[in-house]
Symmetry: C2
Subunit: 399 residues, 2 copies
């Protein structure tokens, strides 16, 4: 159980979708790169060649997991950068054959805001709706693909509600309608739990992030299928075959590859364990009156729980949970601190109030059944207390 | 002295301009961020707030060194990304008032290739010539500034030949001609050696890189003067005040700030030491027949030596030096592996052959006089041997 005694306070971390700690194996793999093996992989002497070799070993490891060629992997500085590269890089490179892109309404902001930028540059973006569980409406997808559609971007598993999309089916629909249209999937949340063989998924581009899979922050990668027309996003030196400039973050890349290897190796067993905890938590939370599960009941990440507790602000619950040593989240970490309601919860067709009362608990390696019991012990009284203070209840004291 | 006995081989690292090792103080400062303090700075609970606090402490440290406000610092994923952000971000944001940019011909590829990208997007770029020592021709600068000039980009100190530009004077020329024109300086190589007070320099934007100042790879920062119109370069979450999306690389940012603080604190004393070593090396190398110094004799980085050894290929020298355990470089690390001659050496007005025979030795903390003596002992016989084999000398055996 993840209970760290610090200033007499127990910490239960249930926000692994926001970010993960570095696994000791990852720290160990990275340790010498920076201190002793600090060479620049572009340098020609032995110290540079050693760094280059370590970099290419990491690339081969990743390629084996994705079932692709090593040269189809571009190491980047974050999942967000990879998403930006996938969208902006293909949009500019394929302007000759069209100006249309498609993204689901529940994409991460890294995709949505890249789309908004592209709209200011003369591109047109169709935002695909999802059903009440967060699954992409496939008939809408089919209808929205045109001759000039460059790319469709679909988040593999949503970071807030955990809903997992039928990527393979989506790929088949796209390729049948327009074989030239690329499919990009943001697999930042999915990479720890699912098979990532790109041919089986049918994706042309895929984004993975280090800091969500017990790897280092500031690392990411973009799979780009051979033959995909894409511009570099960051321009400069000839690194990553001229597709992503900047001295390679060797330690970070090794950390990312090690982390990906570990989560992929352990996923079958770990998913089973997490699903059991997840479902126990969902069952327990739904016993609280006026509580609703957000996202698909079964097609969801093994570690994701997202509920709306009606009549209360998510932020108030967060702060009370923090007092009890529990780390959780309202929407995504990237949007916290803003007063806007979650665009993902809103997209499910829920009213504004439901988005404001949503809570995400995302489990990880360190969590045990004891953590779930602790949350289920601590949380209902918090809800009761906050509901008693809620303006909704003050206005209708009998409700 | 940096002599590591590894497989009975002594290593003398003289390529600090390519990349530096992590200083132990930097490793120490970063150590807990990742393992224990792994929170996402955007998260609202205590673990997130602690990460946020560490991030903001790092930002304040950097701001104190630059003499600017903390909110004028954007942490990025590399020096290359910062350069791209400075150029592409201001170009797009200021399209309304013009489409013209200026960059020197000896900028790093991170700037030059960003310019080339902008040229494909309807922007016009003037490339400023330099004199035989690599100093920007100020009268040409003055003439090239127009009403519609958005930005001028000048590398503070060149990464290959070490020439240092009169940034303050350049700023005065720009602001006198067009107060609306921004000045960006790429200070990646300079940051370890010079005062960085932005007001004294007169810059609106400045790029600094972690991996050239004993900080981590995959880190950089962009100073952006308050009021400067600039678009985000990476779009997504609201990090860095909405100007650079992606979960912050907390450990990396702390490492960067720590490294910058250290080199800035030690620079007065360390520069003196390095200049002595540098000048001893230059004097020694120029004793080799047909050897020419590239770059300005005095207005150059304390750690930079760049010479052309006529009639020999730089790569052949590199490999022989590597055999002797000496790490050096031809042009920049980012261009190595390509067969193109250095654009910087060519810009000095030298013929093609001179660019091909250039060698860069860049000193660092670990180097001692013994290292210089060793290089001066080992290098002349290598030159003699290679010259004996050179096609130039085989054709003209008497020369």
């Amino acid at each position: 159980m993840m209970k760290i005694m610090s200033k007499n306070k127990k910490i239960v971390y249930l926000d692994h979708a926001a970010t993960t700690y570095l696994r000791p194996e990852v720290i160990k793999a990275m340790a010498s790169f920076g201190s002793d093996n600090y060479g620049n992989p572009s340098s020609l002497y032995s110290k540079g060649r050693e760094a280059k070799k370590a970099l290419e070993t990491a690339r081969s490891k990743v390629a084996a997991i994705l079932g692709c060629q090593p040269e189809e992997i571009i190491f980047e500085g974050s999942g967000t950068e990879s998403d930006n590269h996938a969208l902006i890089g293909t949009a500019y490179a394929n302007r000759g054959r069209g100006n249309h892109l498609i993204a689901t309404v529940i994409e991460h902001h890294a995709v949505l805001h890249a789309c908004e930028f592209l709209e200011t540059q003369g591109f047109e973006v169709t935002y695909l709706p999802v059903d009440k569980d967060g699954i992409v409406k496939l008939e809408e997808l089919e209808k929205s693909i045109r001759q000039e559609t460059i790319l469709v971007s679909v988040v593999f598993a949503n970071n807030e509600i955990g809903t997992v999309q039928p990527i393979r089916e989506i790929s088949q629909i796209i390729k049948k309608k327009n074989p030239k249209t690329y499919l990009h999937t943001d697999a930042c949340q999915a990479a720890g739990f699912y098979e990532l063989k790109v041919d089986e998924l049918g994706v042309d581009l895929m984004t993975i992030n280090g800091s969500k899979i017990y790897g280092p922050k500031g690392t990411g990668l973009l799979y780009v299928k051979k033959g995909t027309m894409i511009y570099p996003f960051i321009h400069g030196g000839g690194q990553e075959q001229g597709r992503r400039a900047g001295t390679e973050n060797v330690a970070g890349i090794i950390g990312l590859a090690t982390a990906l290897e570990l989560v992929q190796k352990e996923k079958a067993k770990e998913n089973q364990r997490l699903i059991k905890l997840r479902d126990k938590l969902i069952t327990g939370l739904l016993k609280i009156p006026k509580t609703v599960l957000n996202g698909h009941p079964t097609q969801r990440l093994p570690n994701n729980v997202n509920v709306t507790v009606l009549d209360i602000e998510g932020e108030a619950m967060l702060l009370h949970l923090d007092e009890a040593g529990i780390c959780a989240s309202t929407g995504s970490a990237c949007s916290s601190g803003t007063l806007e309601p979650s665009h993902v919860i809103m997209a499910l067709g829920h009213p504004y109030e439901m988005a404001h009362g949503s809570m995400r608990f995302s489990l990880g390696h360190v969590n045990t059944e004891e953590d779930i019991d602790y949350l289920l012990e601590v949380f209902p009284p918090i809800v009761e207390k906050l509901r008693a203070m809620s303006p909704v209840n003050l206005k209708n004291p009998k409700s």
